[in-house]
Symmetry: none
Amino acid sequence: MKKILIVEDDINIHNVIEELLKKENYITYNAYSGTEALLLLEKEKYDLIILDLMLPAISGEEIIKKVNDIPIIVLSAKISSEDKVNCLLAGANDYITKPFDSKELLARIKVQLRTKNKSNTSTTLKYKDLELLPDNHTLFLNNIKIGLTKTEYAILKQLILNQPQVITKNKLLDLISIDTEDCDENSLRVHISNLRKKIRDYTEVEYIESIWGIGFKIKE
Amino acid sequence: MKKILIVEDDINIHNVIEELLKKENYITYNAYSGTEALLLLEKEKYDLIILDLMLPAISGEEIIKKVNDIPIIVLSAKISSEDKVNCLLAGANDYITKPFDSKELLARIKVQLRTKNKSNTSTTLKYKDLELLPDNHTLFLNNIKIGLTKTEYAILKQLILNQPQVITKNKLLDLISIDTEDCDENSLRVHISNLRKKIRDYTEVEYIESIWGIGFKIKE
DNA sequence: CAAAATTTTAATAATTTCTTAACTATTTTC
DNA sequence: GAAAATAGTTAAGAAATTATTAAAATTTTG
C-alpha cells in the first residue's frame, strides 16, 4: 500500500487526482497549499508526492528543495522548457503538463514507485558502522544505541543520504527545515558539534567531515 | 563519466543527440538498429539508454522488455497516450516526444543518472592526470587526493578551463574575484606557489607554466 | 502547569585560509 | 654584465570560518 501526497490548490483537479489514485488502491493525503504540504511532510512518510507549482504562500519549487528522499512528480500548467528544467534539476523526478492524461499520470506514478522502491525512507539507513533507525530517532553504532534529537537525526540522515557528496550549509539547512523551522548556520554548527560529541563518546572514528568554506560530508 | 547508449535509426537526430551528450562530457555509444543495440548491450555496461521506438527489425518496445537494470528514456515521434503508457509500464523510465527540447532532454537524463547513483550532479574537470572535483574542492592526481583551498581551486579551475590558452594575471584575478574579494597580483603569486608546492609533493611533473610578463597556463 | 528535554543565542576558542611584506631568483633590457 | 623588471618562496599575522561551551529561550512531556 503506497502513500501518495497530493499537493494541489485547485479543488477540482485535486479531486480528480484523488479519485484516480484511490481507484488504483493508493492511500492519498491531501494538501491544498504549500504550507499545508510542509506540515503533512513533517507528520508522515510518503512514497510519492504529486506537486502543483503555483500554490498560495509557498511555491512548489521551494518544496522540491526541501524534499530529498521522496520522489516528486510535478504536475503543472507551466509548459515552458525553462520551468521543466528548473524543477527537474532542483530535484523533481518527473514533470507532467496540464491538462494531463489520466493513464499517463498513473503510468508515470508506477515508474516512480517502481524505481524508487529500493531506496525507501521507511527502511533503516546504513553507512559503515552507522545505522539510522527512522522510527525512534536512534542511531546504532556497532550495535550501541545512541539517542539523537530530531534535528541531529535529520542532519545525519541527510549526510548519509547524500554520501559521498558534500552538502553545503545552505542546502543542508533547506533539507532539514521540514523538521526544524528556524535553524541557522550557527545553530547548525552547534547541532553538528553535539552530534560529534555523542558519537565521540563511543568511538575514535570521526564520521562527519567539515569542508572548509562549503559544508559537511560523511567521511569516506 | 557516464556511458550512454543512443539507439536511433535516423542519422540526423542521432547526430544531434550525440553532439549534445558529448558536450556534457558523457561517453556515447551508437546503435542504429534494434539488433545493433542488443549486440552492444551484451558487450558493455551502460548507465543509460536513449531509445527510439520505430526501429528496423527489432522495435524499441522489445528492447525495453529485455533490459532490466539500466534506465531507459524513450525518445519517440509517437505521441499517443497509449504508446507512452505501454512503454512506461513495460519498463521505460521516461518518455519524451519528438521534436524534443535539448535542455529538457539533458535535465531528464540527469534525473535518471541521479536516481540511479546519487552522485555526480556536477561534472568533474579533467586534464591529463589532473581531475578536479567541484563539490569538495579536491584535486585528484593519479587518484591521489589533494585538498585545495577555495582560491587554489578557483585558480586551477580557470587554468584548466582555458587550457591550452594563456590567461593574463589580470584576467585570472577577474575570473576568481567571485570567490576571493581582495586578491592582488602578489597574493596570486603566493597562491600559485602554494598550489605548485602541493602538486610537487606528489609528482615531478610541472602542470602550471608561467608565461613571462603575461600570465599563466596549463603546461601541454 | 512544572520538569525535562531540546533548540537557539551568544560569547569564546580553535583552526584554516589569505594577504602582506621581506627576501631570493630569474629574465629582460640596455 | 649590471640594472630593472618580473617571478617565486617564505613566514608572520590578519581575516574568515568553524568548534565548543554555557546559558537563555522554547518546546515537549508527564
